[in-house]
């Protein structure tokens, strides 16, 4: 009975430690927290206190979603224009002139040919746009992964979170840089903005 109780207690302690470590590591991956209380993002353009966009967002990039929307809008606009032009032209011709049946049939055939040709062109343009979109998407997906990789490598802890971990770390000094090994994760103490933080370097 006593042995079973000891095993249970040991199991609970191990589970607690694992849980705490997991929480701390998860926090590191999220970007750190500060002491007690919920972690909240401190970033954003208002932190810059700048009058202009260039300073508030020093390295802004392009948005894939807006490009997608633009592409879709262009496709729809082209198709609508083509369709509207055809409809208007047809109405005008049918109401303004009297033609014999043969010429009408011939014109209808021609019109159908032209319509088919335009439709082919539209389809072709759509295919080109789709290909271009797929290429761009693949490019941005790759970039996204690259940024996520960099983000994972650049995850960080604030000093208060680091202290709260109460980690019995070891230090390694390489080329005058001190690295901190804690729970299998290697950190470097750096300035990030004007704040001292511990970033994950492995």
């Amino acid at each position: 009975m006593r042995a079973a109780s000891t095993k249970l207690m040991t199991g609970l302690m191990v589970a607690s430690v694992v849980c705490l470590l997991a929480m701390d590591f998860a926090e590191a991956r999220r970007g750190g927290g500060g002491g007690r209380g919920h972690s909240m993002s401190r970033g954003g353009p208002a932190a810059s206190g700048s009058f202009n966009r260039s300073r508030a967002r020093p390295s802004g990039g392009s948005s894939m979603s807006s490009r997608d929307r633009s592409t879709n809008r262009n496709v729809n606009r082209d198709m609508n224009r083509a369709t509207n032009r055809d409809v208007n032209r047809d109405v005008k011709r049918d109401t303004d002139r009297q033609v014999d049946q043969d010429r009408l049939d011939q014109r209808q055939d021609n019109r159908q040919d032209r319509f088919d040709q335009r439709q082919d062109n539209i389809d072709q343009r759509q295919d080109f746009r789709k290909d271009a979109y797929d290429d761009r998407k693949e490019y941005y997906d790759n970039r996204n992964e690259w940024y996520e990789d960099r983000w994972r490598a650049g995850a960080y802890l604030s000093v208060s979170s680091w202290n709260r971990m109460n980690c019995s770390y070891t230090t390694v000094r390489v080329d005058s840089i001190t690295y901190y090994d804690c729970n299998g994760v290697r950190y470097e103490r750096v300035y990030r903005g004007t704040s001292v933080t511990y970033i994950v370097v492995n």
């Binding site: 909240m40 401190r42 700048s50 009058f51 020093p58 940024y147 650049g154 750096v190």
Partner: protein
């Protein structure tokens, strides 16, 4: 008959276009108040003419969370400027973190007393270039750095879509001129002290084009336009036992990328 109708339609369209243009011109003229620009220019010129000055201010700003909630953070700052190339910024965030940034004319130094760590980087030139390097190169935020750099009036008023003089107000017992200005990105309200020493008493910047329209606010506690005892204020000698650490520059922010911002 058809032609007459067409001519009539053209004349009406032209008249309508002229009317719309005239209305737009009137609106634009009505949104730029010469008095507001004059008050702002007096302050900008006054600051730019000062070779040595300092101020203390309380900053706060909204950080818009992924959930859309806005959380306020802030700091106290004490700034001392000696043109053309010296500056000292002492700041303490509300969570207690302290930072001292010193531009000694050749190098920029960052120091955190509690951790006893420092970092340094070359100063590329005068304060304008140095601040630009710090903000865009090292990704260190420098709120209201425009007040220290030259060309404040041009930077704020180019391009300007609105400048209104809202009248005299009292801010914490000090008589001020209240202005509202806008550019294509943000709206800013300024309270500039009345009299022959026009300086900012308060500023609120609303980032109108950003999600959640976050604000930056600064309340100026004091200005010193002729500070004494500045000797040694722009020098930094790493204290004994202080460890030098590196400055980490995060990956650029993009809509697709993932610089998540500081957390606290």
């Amino acid at each position: 008959m058809k032609n007459r109708n067409r001519i009539l339609a053209c004349v009406l369209a032209t008249l309508f276009a002229f009317n719309v243009q005239a209305q737009t011109d009137a609106d634009e003229a009505g949104d730029i108040d010469a008095e507001a620009l004059e008050i702002f220019k007096e302050m900008a010129d006054y600051l730019e003419a000062a070779s040595v000055f300092g101020y203390q201010a309380e900053y706060s700003y909204d950080a818009v969370q992924e959930s859309g909630l806005k959380v306020e953070f802030g700091a106290s700052r004490k700034i001392l400027v000696s043109r053309p190339d010296r500056m000292r910024v002492e700041s303490q965030r509300r969570d207690g973190m302290r930072a001292v940034m010193t531009f000694d004319g050749k190098k920029m130094w960052l120091y955190e007393p509690k951790e006893n760590v420092y970092a340094t980087a070359d100063q590329p030139g005068h304060l304008d270039e140095s601040i630009e390097h710090v903000v865009t190169g090292l990704r260190i935020k420098a709120p209201l750095a425009d007040l220290i750099e030259t060309g404040l009036y041009e930077k704020v008023t180019t391009p300007l879509t609105r400048a209104l003089y809202l009248g005299e107000t009292i801010v914490t017992g000090v008589a001020c001129e209240h202005l509202l200005m806008s550019n294509d990105y943000a709206d800013f309200q300024l309270w500039i002290t009345s009299g022959d020493q026009p300086v900012l008493k308060r500023i609120v910047i609303t980032y109108r084009e950003e999600p959640g329209q976050p604000q930056f606010r600064a309340h100026f506690l004091s200005w010193d336009m002729s500070p004494r005892d500045i000797k040694g204020q722009f020098e930094f000698e790493p204290p004994e036992g202080a460890e030098r650490i590196r400055i980490y520059v995060p990956a650029p922010v993009t809509d697709i990328g993932s610089d998540k911002g500081d957390k606290s």
